[in-house]
Point group: C2
Chain length 220, copies 2
């Protein structure tokens, strides 16, 4: 059974200040934190499972699973032998820096180089709260449609990288990846984009190289 922590709204004056402080402390401790955001059911846990399995020999990964309820995701990650903790957000639709800190403090991270915060499944609210992560990564799954950048512009504008998942279903859903990337680049010219299929493995290598490259840059 995965360990579960019940969280409540942070009562601090400034989330931005808390986030900057957490980011700095994690860097000093040698931990690269990635905030992973998406709609419900976009394949966050499946992407993480494959990433953990692929990178395991080289990099130790831990996952902080944030959900309103349930602990199905943490159990899937633990089954791979990776460290994981489940946090419940007490109905809240996003994670903030105080909640992220509380979750990370529940794990022994001394041997870990990369920690993923799997944020609550929501394309809106999480984009407004700095969690203290070094990189914000968004996932868009092919079945959601290529018009999503037009409808959720803040999330697409603020992310450092976009992973387009379930690319093996692209022809079935008439997903126009060129058009989708055009929309995204208009909002966010510097974003790095990784089309992947965790099912077939296509594109996983580029995504994992992104993680290693940024881990090296941030942790030095």
């Amino acid at each position: 059974m995965a360990r579960v922590i019940e969280l409540h709204k942070s009562v601090t004056e400034s989330n931005d200040k808390d986030a900057d402080q957490l980011r700095k402390e994690l860097k000093e401790k040698g931990l690269f934190l990635i905030n992973l955001m998406s709609s419900p059911g976009s394949g966050k846990t499946t992407l993480l499972s494959r990433t953990i399995t692929d990178m395991k020999p080289e990099v130790e990964i831990a996952v902080l699973e944030a959900d309103i309820e349930s602990d199905v995701d943490a159990e899937r990650i633990e089954a791979l032998g990776a460290k994981s903790i489940q946090v419940h957000t007490d109905g809240m639709c996003h994670m903030d820096a105080g909640m992220t800190r509380a979750g990370l403090e529940g794990m022994d991270l001394s041997e870990v180089q990369i920690a993923f915060l799997e944020n609550v499944g929501n394309l809106i609210c999480p984009a407004e709260f700095d969690t203290g992560a070094h990189k914000n990564v968004m996932i868009l799954s092919v079945p959601e449609g290529d018009d999503k950048p037009l409808k959720y512009p803040l999330m697409f504008s603020m992310c450092d990288a976009l992973v387009i998942t379930k690319t093996d279903t692209m022809s079935y859903f008439s997903f126009d990846i060129k058009k989708c990337i055009e929309h995204v680049k208009k909002l966010n010219p510097d974003v790095e984009i990784f089309p992947v299929s965790a099912k077939t493995g296509e594109g996983m290598r580029d995504w994992e190289d992104y993680l290693k490259r940024n881990m090296a840059a941030i942790l030095g």
Copy 2:
């Protein structure tokens, strides 16, 4: 071009009171209002398009499209010859009763029997705000996965009906519909469930019968 209304947070004392008042007024005017909620990309607009086309000879339908930005959905609905208005929520992650009222007031609904509020794509926040609708309908699309009821229990508990969309992709995504329905019924024993594929037309008839039945019951 679809008409667009920019909305701002309602400043009323009680959303619940406003919602009850709106519900009563709409019934008196002979308008059945349905609040349609789901994740981004679950196929709300595609379901509505097919519903409008199928029911057009008998029932006049209008759609209130709520989005943070963009007006792609309203344009799709207008192309079918149905009345539609786009509201922008000013960054807000849900609609409330005051916003719904403002949106409806932007359309001439004198000949309309059913109005759909296509709520912001979000499985969390919209479940907490009564919009004044007579029925709350949730959509879960097959690619999102059969475990979603465990993760977003409030939405699955408060809806009157659940439409499971994109059923034509069920075998591809290993979606266990029996398990999914079991999870939902545990949270919400009275919910009516409609598996549909707007692509093949499978299940559309039952969903449309639900609409007609409830329209008759509410409008008398």
